[in-house]
Symmetry: C2
Subunit: 221 residues, 2 copies
């Protein structure tokens, strides 16, 4: 953890990510990981104790790195449509780099492996915290603010990315259709977002009435 070694520990973590990408969570083993890392299988246990702990460390490190890469981009976003543009770019880049795939596989494994669950939750959290910040900023002053819950939406976006990633893996064309349909719907958000003052007030009136109808006073959380 100190000096000149860009070495074994890191190579193992990179190897873990690569192995998950290639073989899926069902195919990772100390041997496949070590193979991807180009090191001896026994070193997994020397450095991390168990395979699970290596996966946990690798997921955490890889995700933190990716999120940090995008921090400046997130900070520069000033409107909903800029956020949609960044989301599209981020989705495409992360998909190609295989990082979404790794996250999805970790999540799948975490469903039945309690030792992976906190790591997967933490990785998702790194993403959702960033998204939430941006949403909070760009929604301020929008007529959608009354209607949009930034923490919840950030989590929905993250879940959506994961679901789309898994879909893409079995039906690329279908997933593309899904994404295109969502972007088309986003036009609606966009239009509402820069309504004139009169239309805006009219919409807010309608929303208030409708919301009261759906969420009883003193309702949810």
């Amino acid at each position: 953890m100190n000096s000149a070694s860009i070495s074994t520990r890191q190579r193992l973590m990179d190897g873990a990510v690569e192995a998950i990408r290639r073989y899926g969570i069902a195919g990772v083993s100390a041997r496949t990981v070590a193979g991807c890392a180009g090191v001896n299988q026994a070193l997994v246990f020397y450095h991390f104790g168990t395979l699970d702990e290596l996966l946990v460390a690798a997921c955490q490190a890889a995700t933190a790195e990716r999120v940090a890469d995008y921090r400046d981009r997130f900070a520069a976003v000033r409107s909903l449509s800029e956020l949609l543009d960044l989301g599209r770019e981020l989705h495409e880049q992360e998909r190609q780099a295989g990082n979404l795939a790794v996250l999805a596989q970790m999540l799948a494994g975490a469903q039945t492996d309690g030792r992976l669950a906190p790591a997967a939750a933490a990785a998702l959290r790194l993403w959702t915290d960033e998204i939430e910040l941006v949403l909070r900023r760009v929604l301020a002053g929008s007529p959608l603010a009354a209607l949009a819950d930034p923490p919840g939406l950030a989590r929905a976006v993250a879940a959506g990315f994961v679901g789309l990633e898994l879909y893409e893996g079995v039906d690329r064309a279908g997933a593309d259709d899904a994404l295109a349909a969502l972007e088309q719907l986003a036009v609606l958000v966009d239009v509402v977002d820069d309504l004139g003052p009169v239309a805006r007030r009219a919409l807010q009136g309608r929303l208030a009435r409708r919301s009261r109808g759906r969420v009883p006073p003193g309702g949810r959380s």
Copy 2:
């Protein structure tokens, strides 16, 4: 497939579903499946040749059964808000029954196992075909019709369910927040859906202008 046997073949398929639910795709083996089914391990290979083929058959059968259970419910839906209500109920029931979990695990496995991929895609297709039909029906005559692509949206909904399911497995509260945020946003769709004729025409004008700006003429399929 013919007579009085509610037997081994079916028990194995039920056992496969149960094993995926309990141990995840990384934990299914001929032995765990046979254990869940209460039959001998060798019977997996006698009846299905390989474990993968059993998983494929089980996924197909279980999904078809679930979709059939909902067909009448889907057919009875007459509006977007009825569809949202049914979606909420369906999500909750399938989550509790563990069928979404199985689908998610199959999808995760299918990412790196080409023999599972067609089965996972087909299972998703069973759901999206139903959803698409309903969407097509309830969107007819809505001002959203111009903006909403039923096949794409159906696929987006299915992907969203899968993503949320995986999220729930590692952070139940976060996933609940995500769902609540989406339902809150759905109010917007609802409001737009029953606009008066004047507001409707105004919105359509705005949408047309905005769409032209975003999707160049002769653009995407």
